[in-house]
């Protein structure tokens, strides 16, 4: 049969020779160094003399007579079905078989990054800029004085009858701002109930006409609550610097709400200073000072201005840089009788009289107007006169004179220039009061403002840049040297995180299915890092049957770039390099047949060329060297088993040892065949190596193209043999060779407990592989494949 043919084809082949001195084996012998150059090199030195099968055929065994002895280990179909060769290693503790079916969950690719980064908190930035601007106000503003005229006049329900110039234009210099307040504008029921009065227009006109004639003024705001009215004017040239003007009213009259008493206020921004003007008319009558206190407090708490930004809480009076408070506060002089008061006034003993002033006393007691200042009273009380005169009240009630009409202020950089009453005006039973102030207003220096703003924006940008996650890597270049088939190499590195917590992940490059080449794996490939923390990442390199062939051929190299991506942060490139030591594992059958020398002795170009060489049905003699019948590596393993293990119990069913597999692989790839024996390798490891070898073949022994044919004729031995005869020569040789070997094993079944079923099930799935690839064999396909092999085990070849 096959072996006999081999014997015929190989001159000098003598099955009886137990210890042939084959020179071609020398490179495979691990002996003392021999004189170089004289040693004939390897396989090509003895073309056509490949005697591989000698040992198997040795002893003149009858291949055909072997029958199953039925003493094989009982094997349950189900469990055998799962015991696929891939899992052979999985019983070893340090299994890395998961590497072969790594789950690559990476979904982000580098180009998605732009999108991820663009999510930004929006409103927050505005708020931060604003608060920084407030904080740094001093950097870009300077104080400039502006002249404010503040006036208050209780007009006792009268229409204007006289020119108001003596009051409003008392100063030589035209003020920049006018704040003019009235009380008791209209005492009629109509005004009280319908809030409408012709007096508003009348007094507005009178005031407008009474303003200083040296300047042009613009009315900013008019606000009125029944009889309490407040007017705000500025010089026209300042209008552009007034903003955020708001006006509100608070009634404290009957029922604590009505507008016959209470206050009105206008707030605004003048340049960069916030200013609030309040005009109030508090409760009347000497003994009612506590009501007046109460009114004041009500006005303070209930006066609220909405802000430009509706998300901010409303402003209260106190939250202004400058507060000017004017009005008929109605505080009286207490304890002294009318005559005594009038006498002190006559003596101009205002200081003495002032000691009895309720407002003074209440302020001193800190019940009201905390933080406010009032100028010295150098004018006689403004209440109560007979209308049209400067005479004290002569009515029945004969009220005691009092400083009802007052002006107070709060804030920095306020300088009172005058505080006076205006006796010349006689329309009312009150005299108007005025005060002129120099008020330091924060004016923006445009250039500095721009600079400050820019600085703030820049610092925010910087903050944002500093908040980009950033890590440092202990290593970025990884070199894996002399990578071998199925030998795990691990390189590790440390990621040290900076100050920003971050999520890291190896991400796919576009058009790639995973973040790295198939033979590589990062562990872990994603994770989360707290500030200043470390994580160790292992890069595991493992070449298996799927990746070996292309590494042999040079189509693939141990070269890769991994992209370590930080969520919202930088990307880091890690370079992987190294060299792969080609192996017979993963090499096609015909390629190995053309390799007369150990694969590691061949130059890479030759390996590449032979690996890429298309499979041929017959050797066409196109190559210089004639090929071997079957791969020498296959012969070595089979021969070893034949010599040492035909009687080994549980052969092909007991896992080998990883270290031994590595030795076997090295022996095969370097040609140091004798090592197999020297190292006392266990038969199980060689048997396993043989299975792994068959599994690693890129094209199975029974070529994919013949797969379905084989399944179809699995019950018909003649047809089956016919299919085998159509296989490419080398595949056919390997198949026949293996079948001969297996039959030889079965002859020893009494010792090794093997039977046709066990062998058919192990080899069925290795020799016949579903061409569709990874999909699990369907049970019926599997059965048929076994049946197919079974025929060759129990029939003469």
């Amino acid at each position: 049969m096959f072996l006999q043919e081999v014997a015929r084809a190989c001159p000098g082949f003598d099955p009886a020779t137990k210890d042939p001195e084959f020179l071609w084996l020398s490179p495979y012998r691990c002996t003392e160094p021999q004189p170089e150059s004289t040693t004939p090199r390897g396989w090509n030195s003895a073309p056509g003399t490949w005697p591989g099968c000698a040992s198997i055929g040795g002893g003149g065994s009858n291949f055909g007579s072997s029958r199953p002895n039925g003493k094989g280990l009982p094997v349950k179909e189900s469990s055998r079905g799962q015991d696929k060769p891939e899992n052979l290693f999985s019983r070893q503790p340090k299994s890395k078989s998961e590497i072969t079916d790594m789950v690559r969950s990476s979904t982000i690719t580098v180009s998605d990054k732009a999108h991820i980064l663009s999510m930004q908190k929006f409103g927050l930035r505005d708020t931060i800029v604003k608060s920084h601007l407030v904080q740094k106000e001093e950097d870009y503003t300077y104080i400039q004085n502006f002249r404010f005229f503040v006036g208050t006049y209780n007009v006792n329900g009268q229409s204007p009858k006289e020119c108001l110039r003596p009051w409003l234009s008392c100063d030589i210099q035209a003020p920049d701002v006018y704040c003019v307040g009235f009380q008791e504008l209209d005492l009629s029921k109509e005004a009280f109930f319908f809030h409408d009065t012709p007096r508003e227009e009348e007094w507005f006109k009178a005031v407008t006409q009474g303003l200083h004639s040296d300047a042009k003024y613009a009315k900013v705001k008019l606000i009125r609550l029944v009889g309490i009215m407040l007017l705000l004017y500025v010089k026209q040239e300042h209008a552009a610097y007034i903003s955020e003007v708001e006006a509100e009213t608070v009634g404290t009259g009957i029922m604590g709400r009505m507008g016959n008493k209470g206050g009105v206020a206008i707030r605004f921004q003048f340049h960069n200073t916030s200013i609030c003007i309040v005009n109030s008319h508090l409760a009347a009558h000497t003994e009612e000072y506590e009501r007046r206190n109460q009114d004041y407090k009500d006005i303070c708490s209930r006066m609220q201005f909405c802000q430009v930004d509706p998300s901010l809480p409303p402003l209260t009076i106190s939250r202004h840089d400058v507060i000017l408070w004017l009005g008929d506060l109605n505080y009286r002089i207490e304890e002294l009788d009318v005559e005594k008061v009038k006498k002190l006034i006559e003596e101009k003993a205002f200081e003495t009289l002032y000691a009895y002033d309720q407002l003074k006393i209440q302020v001193a007691a800190k019940t009201i107007f905390e933080g406010f200042t009032e100028g010295e009273l150098t004018f006689q009380p403004t209440y109560k006169y007979d209308t049209g005169s400067d005479n004290w009240d002569t009515s029945e009630k004969c009220r005691a004179p009092a400083w009802c009409d007052r002006i107070l202020w709060k804030g920095n950089n306020i300088n009172q220039l005058s505080y006076q009453s205006h006796m010349a005006l006689k329309t009312s039973d009150h005299k108007p009061v005025s005060s002129v102030f120099d008020i330091g207003v924060k004016v923006i220096n445009e250039e500095l403002y721009r600079k400050t703003l820019e600085e703030i924006v820049r610092s925010l940008d910087k903050m944002e840049n500093a908040n980009i996650p950033s890590v440092s890597l202990s290593k970025r270049e990884f070199c894996f040297q002399n990578v071998k088939y199925m030998q795990l190499q691990v390189e590790s590195f440390k990621i040290h995180n900076g100050q920003v917590p971050c999520q890291f992940e190896f991400i796919n490059k576009p058009d790639e299915k995973s973040y790295c080449k198939q033979w590589l794996n990062a562990n872990p490939s994603r994770g989360f890092l707290l500030p200043d923390s470390d994580i160790e990442i292992e890069l595991e390199l493992f070449v298996n049957k799927t990746t070996a062939t292309k590494l042999n051929s040079g189509e693939d190299k141990i070269e890769d770039i991994l992209v370590l991506h930080l969520d919202r942060g930088k990307d880091y490139f890690l370079s992987v390099s190294g060299n792969y030591l080609p192996s017979c594992f993963g090499s096609p059958i015909h390629t190995l047949c053309y390799m007369r020398e150990p694969i590691l002795d061949l130059p890479p170009e030759v390996i590449s060329e032979l690996t890429l060489m298309p499979i041929k049905t017959e050797d066409d003699g196109s190559r210089l060297e004639s090929p071997m019948e079957i791969p020498k590596e296959l012969w070595m393993m089979v021969d070893y088993l034949y010599q040492n293990a035909v009687q080994q119990e549980d052969l092909f069913q007991q896992p080998g040892l990883r270290v031994e597999f590595e030795q076997i692989r090295d022996c095969l790839d370097t040609g140091m065949i004798d090592n197999l024996c020297i190292l006392q390798t266990f038969s199980h490891s060689v048997a396993e190596a043989l299975l792994l070898f068959l599994e690693s073949l890129p094209e199975p022994v029974i070529c994919n193209s013949a797969y379905y044919n084989c399944l179809e004729c699995s019950g018909n031995y003649t047809a089956s043999k016919q299919v085998i005869s159509t296989l490419p020569t080398f595949h056919k040789n390997v198949f026949n060779y293996l079948m001969a070997f297996l039959q030889e094993l079965l002859k020893n079944s009494a010792k090794n407990h093997l039977d046709e079923n066990i062998l058919a099930s192990i080899f069925g799935s290795l020799l016949l592989r579903n061409p569709a690839g990874n999909q699990k064999h369907e049970m019926t396909e599997k059965k048929k494949a076994q049946e197919f092999i079974h025929q060759f085990l129990c029939n003469p070849l």
Partner: protein, 215 residues
């Protein structure tokens, strides 16, 4: 106080490309931090920075990606080009090779970005005049032939650095204004953010106008 919105309404993505060592990272750093890095390690990966600038009264947030210039990373860095609105292509005036490679950088930039992507050529290290290896004129001609801008920049001294980024932004903004850049296109490299509503503002008399407060 002014109440101008401080926020940006656009995001532009920029990429900086060019041979290794031409100063791409320094350019980014100078722009975002206003500092020169004398000893800058090679970029092995992709870094980025942001800064807000103003073009025609619009605040624009630039998101700038600095890529590795080393040839071996070229295949990977290419994948970061997508969706860039602007590309700053840098060479070193003292090394002709960095100039010679421009056409290959330009090809990548053209092929991998959208047709409206604004490409600006930057000849860096103008301070090393004595070692000049590429004349301004030939680079300018190269830029013009390829329909682009040319700027000579001295990152070390910060000269023209702002301009490089601003010029590109102006051109992109112009493309938006005249409609040639479709913001809805996936790869425009521009995102528009409508400013937050400025509600609650009551009118005052006269309408005070706060002017000249650009920021």
């Amino acid at each position: 106080m002014a109440t101008a919105p401080y926020n940006y309404s656009y995001i532009f993505k920029y990429i900086i490309i060019g041979d290794m060592g031409v100063g791409k990272s320094c350019l980014l750093h100078q722009f975002t931090e206003k500092k020169f890095m004398a000893d800058c390690p090679h970029t092995i990966g992709v870094e980025f920075g942001t800064r807000i600038i103003e073009v025609s009264g619009q605040k624009i947030k630039l998101q700038i990606w600095d890529t590795a210039g080393q040839e071996r990373f070229r295949a990977v860095t290419r994948s970061y080009y997508r969706g860039a609105a602007g590309a700053l292509m840098v060479y070193d005036i003292t090394r002709r090779s960095t100039y010679n490679h421009l056409s290959s950088w330009l090809t990548d930039a053209r092929n991998l970005t959208n047709p409206n992507t604004v490409i600006i050529l930057i000849g860096n290290k103008a301070d090393l005049e004595a070692q000049r290896d590429v004349t301004y004129e030939e680079a300018k001609q190269f830029a013009e032939e390829n329909g682009g801008f040319m700027l000579k920049v001295n990152i070390k001294m910060g000269e023209n650095v702002e301009d490089a980024f601003l010029e590109a932004a102006k051109k992109i903004y112009q493309n938006i204004q005249d409609g040639s850049l479709d913001l809805n296109a996936a790869e425009s490299g521009v995102q528009h953010k409508p400013s937050a509503p400025q509600g609650g503002r009551l009118t005052s008399e006269p309408q005070p106008q706060r002017e000249g407060c650009g920021c």
